[in-house]
Symmetry: C2
Subunit: 322 residues, 2 copies
DNA sequence: GCATATTTGTGCGTATGTATT
DNA sequence: TAATACATACGCACAAATATG
């Protein structure tokens, strides 16, 4: 919508016909392994977690080869262009006939590639006039969805996911306090204020609270931790969205409207103790109290009111499949 | 191969023809959102990481609806059966004509679903006699591959991934030390001994070292952290496999054969200081020295020799696409 | 409301690869 | 070793649904 959609000349430099391709002019490159990484190990045991031999993957010299299907080759080429930024968010792909001739494949093959990329949320294809495939930036949510599948298959609980966050975030708070950057403090204050400005609807409150936790990790500057934390948060909001949404929100604002308590009567729709804990963390970081920040944030995350309500939050992360 | 492959009656309880399906008897369920989660936010900015507004996703009341394609519905049904364990590792799916009649879809549609599941490494399709689709358990490697795509798109470096591990693992060591379980200590000793028994080939050494780090996290019992750590490890071994493999291994065994130094001359092919650091961690955990274990493990992970060699390990995680 | 462009789903045919005989 | 049967891979062409203008 925003951009005029550079839909022309997709595989621009590589469209020379490369004569002896299997079904067309898809650059075959027989030594590459394309997209879907096969899993050599994991014969069936559900990951020994207590004391077993822990499955030391001995990584043999040559892995299992799998013939790359043509559709996967097409999907890989498009995926690469998206990941490398040659195709950016909102760009429109050429219509199917154009792509068919450019890749030298038939319609079913191209459609298979489309389904793969659509399942990865890298494109979304709508039909009708001015429809077609539009590009989307890769998001941690898809990685989170698949990680959630793995966790669901292993029988992990929602409390398990939450505990992982409580392990990751405190060291980030320590890092921020050690650095002591005024910019970090200002950014955290801004996020906290933004949480005050949202209304009283439960979803917005939960989102604001999550945003603060995310900010603690993202301000660290470590992109991997940011992505991982985003995945964990997405898992929580994904499993708790269908049913437990209202209960979580009810837990967030413990004392619903304590406006007569004295200080700042109106502008704190966020949970009382929650907002206080967030503000305290900012103070500790500003003060440079690394140990205190880490310990405080760890306690805040381990607090019983912070986790999902209704028992010790042991609902299996099974909601991802309905 | 190992199992007789229960290939009959795949969608057993749900094969009643459900009259008014769009193209067949796929259970439509119009309210469900199937597989590919669209991303509402992220208009194009590469994740403000320093001080920006940090994009507080305000989660509106109704998300964007997307018509579920028939192939995605088929893929979702098969995926659900795999994740829930009704189809387990190595099981064979019925041949295409059977699935076509059971799902009431045509072959291209079924093949699109196959490509999606194959890209997710949940099945692997081989052709030829006794070929067909075989089921695989979901592995963190696929989640790692997609998370790697996200990180590569954001320009994350390999050092960034390593730093994430150095944030996650020390708290796990602390947890193990606080718990002080003899089983944990025994398991860690077993993994360490297994690392001694592998040969001298660089790949095996790197795998053994990675296995110890994984054990530290997995013994915690937290499945989310285990999956996340497995993803990070898979990312490093994925990016460093093509070129930097030998250099990493060369870094692992600093003093190649110091067998004349006195203690245990023969059975420590693992790097000298590396093995010592691992053994020291076990001792600290056995002693119950939580603070010491955390600090030691953090130092070990931050050691310059532990990261990838050749500068401060800032190679972009770009190798995932060739 | 109608025309148009676009994807969607389907059927059938041929080619290719794999395991069995 | 060679022939054969089986199962998927890929292609072409047609009908239907859908969103835009």
């Amino acid at each position: 919508m925003a951009r005029p959609a550079a839909s022309a000349a997709l595989p621009s430099g590589t469209s020379q016909p490369s004569p002896a391709a299997p079904g067309g002019q898809v650059a075959t490159e027989p030594g590459r392994r394309a997209a879907g990484g096969r899993v050599p190990g994991l014969p069936g045991s559900p990951a020994p977690l207590t004391a077993g031999p822990l499955a030391v993957t001995v990584s043999p010299v040559g892995r299992q080869v799998r013939v790359p299907k043509t559709a996967e080759l097409v999907a890989s080429q498009l995926r690469r262009r998206i990941i490398r930024g040659e195709l950016s968010e909102g760009d429109a792909l050429p219509p199917e006939p154009t792509l068919m001739t450019q890749f030298g494949v038939s319609r079913p093959t191209l459609r298979e590639a489309f389904r793969v990329l659509e399942a990865e949320a890298l494109i979304s294809v709508r039909r009708g006039a001015h429809g077609g495939a539009r590009v989307h930036a890769p998001s941690p949510n898809v990685a989170a969805r698949y990680a959630g599948l793995v966790l669901e298959h292993r029988g992990a609980t929602l409390g398990d996911v939450h505990q992982a966050s409580s392990v990751i975030e405190p060291p980030c708070a320590v890092l921020l306090a050690e650095r002591g950057s005024p910019d970090d403090v200002a950014a955290l204050r801004a996020v906290l204020a933004e949480g005050d400005s949202v209304g009283e609807e439960p979803a917005a409150l939960a989102a604001a609270q999550a945003a603060f936790h995310r900010a603690v990790v993202e301000l660290t500057g470590n992109k991997s931790l940011s992505v991982l934390t985003g995945m964990l948060q997405h898992l929580v909001e994904l499993t708790s969205a269908p049913q437990g949404h209202a209960s979580i929100a009810a837990n967030i604002r413990e004392a619903p409207a304590r406006s007569s308590a004295g200080d700042e009567p109106q502008r704190r729709p966020l949970g009382r103790t929650t907002r206080l804990a967030h503000a305290t963390l900012i103070d500790l970081i500003e003060r440079g109290d690394a140990a205190g920040a880490g310990e405080h944030w760890g306690r805040h995350l381990a607090a019983p009111g912070h986790a999902v309500p209704g028992g010790p939050a042991d609902g299996c992360v099974l909601d991802l499949l309905g």
